[in-house]
């Protein structure tokens, strides 16, 4: 079965880029639907709660990023199935709290920004 892919622009700010090769902007391609076979065993338990085959949402993007982009200290990015408290997320320049947070269904060409607020002022 051919799986279509989504092209997503991911940006980091506020120091979060340090967990992702110190690169602020990433262009990623990911499946438009959550694959039936999770990429590795680690993801099974967390993603198992939600059925595979559902359209890719931000929660899926976060786990995809963890498995494909994150270089260090996962606990500073994901906590209890969502972003660590203190990380702000924007979907096409809108607070993700207005877009359904992790359940927002990704559209091709979306821009998702993650900003840490936890670094010094």
């Amino acid at each position: 079965m051919s799986q279509s892919t989504l092209s997503i622009k991911v940006e980091f700010g506020g120091g979060l880029e340090l967990l992702f090769s110190n690169q602020r902007s990433h262009k990623v391609s990911l499946p438009s639907h959550v694959p039936t076979a999770p990429p590795d065993a680690n993801t099974t338990s967390e993603q198992g709660k939600k059925e595979s085959g559902r359209p890719a949402d931000i929660t899926y993007l976060m786990y995809w990023m963890r498995d494909n982009l994150l270089k260090e200290r996962e606990e500073l990015f994901i906590e209890n199935g969502t972003v660590r408290p203190g990380i702000l997320v924007l979907v096409n320049d809108t607070d993700w709290e207005l877009e359904g947070e992790g359940e927002y269904v990704l559209q091709d060409g979306d821009e998702i920004v993650f900003i840490s607020t936890l670094h010094g002022g």
Partner: protein, 359 residues
């Protein structure tokens, strides 16, 4: 999901959910309410008077960068008539402060404000890099905190300002309330929510962002595309504050109004007179003239310890007393801090005790 319109103007599309109120608002209304709330904080507390010279404590981080931008905006919009300056302290931390100072230098250009940088090296003869090389990374935050506080006051005297504003935000203050409760520091608990602190011998300090949420400060910086620096200090950050911070962020995730509620709780506490009385009377340091609750101020004590190559023992009060009783004077070759003197027009201001919040 269908786009919603702004709860305030009802016209533009909402881009932000305010943590304080839960309102969904558009970008322009967000800028307007954020700035207006800071203006209201300033006017309700009567922070400034026409012609005041005000230094913005600038680290290059998000809070002080947004503060500099908003202070400039409000000063022009409401004709406060303030002369604004940027004051930065260079702790001498390679790879951290040197990079963030580059941001402050750009802010100086962008905001057209004069900048003064005062370094630990210049004032104390020690950079944080040198201090950490000598004492390690266990008590280094104590040194940095004590040295920064005094350096800001001294920098302010050099700029001849009346007032220092800092970027402490609502999250920082809620965090300090929690820490003071958890440490049983009731005297500080009574003072830590004050918007303005002013000792007899110090320059007035205030926090115009006292009621501004960190989330909104970061969103403001993002939407205004402000240039700020965000890297954690390379030396271990204050562990206890770190725990309080994570705890507070968890609470906020469950109930966003928590932060403002904790500040209100802190403001509502009434500290008994006998608890307040535990606070030592303020005097001036016999060596450098800075305000102190002991014969020697903390900075002079710490510096003496460093100079003696025995900094570790200077950190506890017990060791301090030992040091003072054992050694009356200074070693001839020892570096000391230049004598501190406030401009004469500062004499005779009201005392309201030491500030307690730090970040």
């Amino acid at each position: 999901m269908a786009p919603r319109n702004c709860a305030l103007c009802k016209v533009s599309r909402a881009i932000l959910k305010r943590p304080k109120t839960g309102q969904q608002i558009c970008k322009e209304c967000f800028f307007h309410v954020f700035e207006t709330e800071v203006h209201n904080t300033i006017t309700e507390a009567n922070l400034f008077k026409l012609g005041d010279r005000v230094a913005i404590g600038a680290s290059g981080g998000k809070d002080s960068t947004v503060l500099a931008y908003v202070m400039k905006t409000l000063n022009e919009r409401y004709s406060y008539g303030l002369n604004l300056f940027l004051l930065s302290i260079d702790e001498g931390i390679t790879g951290y402060r040197d990079d963030s100072l580059e941001t402050v230098k750009r802010n100086q250009e962008q905001y057209k404000m004069p900048l003064k940088i005062l370094s630990y090296d210049e004032l104390y003869g020690w950079t944080m890099d040198a201090i950490v090389a000598q004492i390690g990374t266990k008590n280094n935050c104590t040194f940095c905190g004590v040295f920064r506080r005094q350096a800001l006051d001294r920098g302010a005297v050099m700029l001849e300002v009346d007032h220092i504003v800092t970027g402490h935000n609502a999250d920082d203050i809620a965090e300090t309330v929690l820490m003071n409760i958890m440490r049983g520091d009731i005297a500080r608990l009574g003072r830590c929510t004050s918007i303005c602190t002013q000792g007899e011998d110090t320059i007035k300090r205030s926090k115009p962002f006292k009621y501004a949420y960190e989330k909104e400060i970061v969103m403001y910086a993002y939407f205004k595309k402000l240039d700020y620096f965000s890297t954690e200090c390379i030396y271990s950050p204050e562990a206890y504050r770190g725990h309080a911070r994570v705890f507070l962020k968890d609470l906020e995730a469950a109930r966003p109004s928590t932060i403002i509620d904790i500040i209100h709780s802190g403001e509502a506490f009434e500290v008994k007179e006998e608890v307040k009385a535990v606070q030592k009377a303020q005097q001036t340091c016999r060596r450098c003239g800075y305000m102190s609750s002991n014969d020697l101020c903390k900075a002079c004590t710490l510096l003496e310890g460093l100079e003696r190559g025995a900094a570790a023992i200077a950190v506890t009060d017990k060791a301090r007393r030992k040091l003072v009783t054992m050694e009356g004077g200074t070693i001839d070759t020892m570096r000391t801090i230049p004598y501190f003197q406030l401009p004469s027009h500062k004499a005779g201001v009201n005392s309201s005790g030491l500030a307690s919040s730090s970040s």
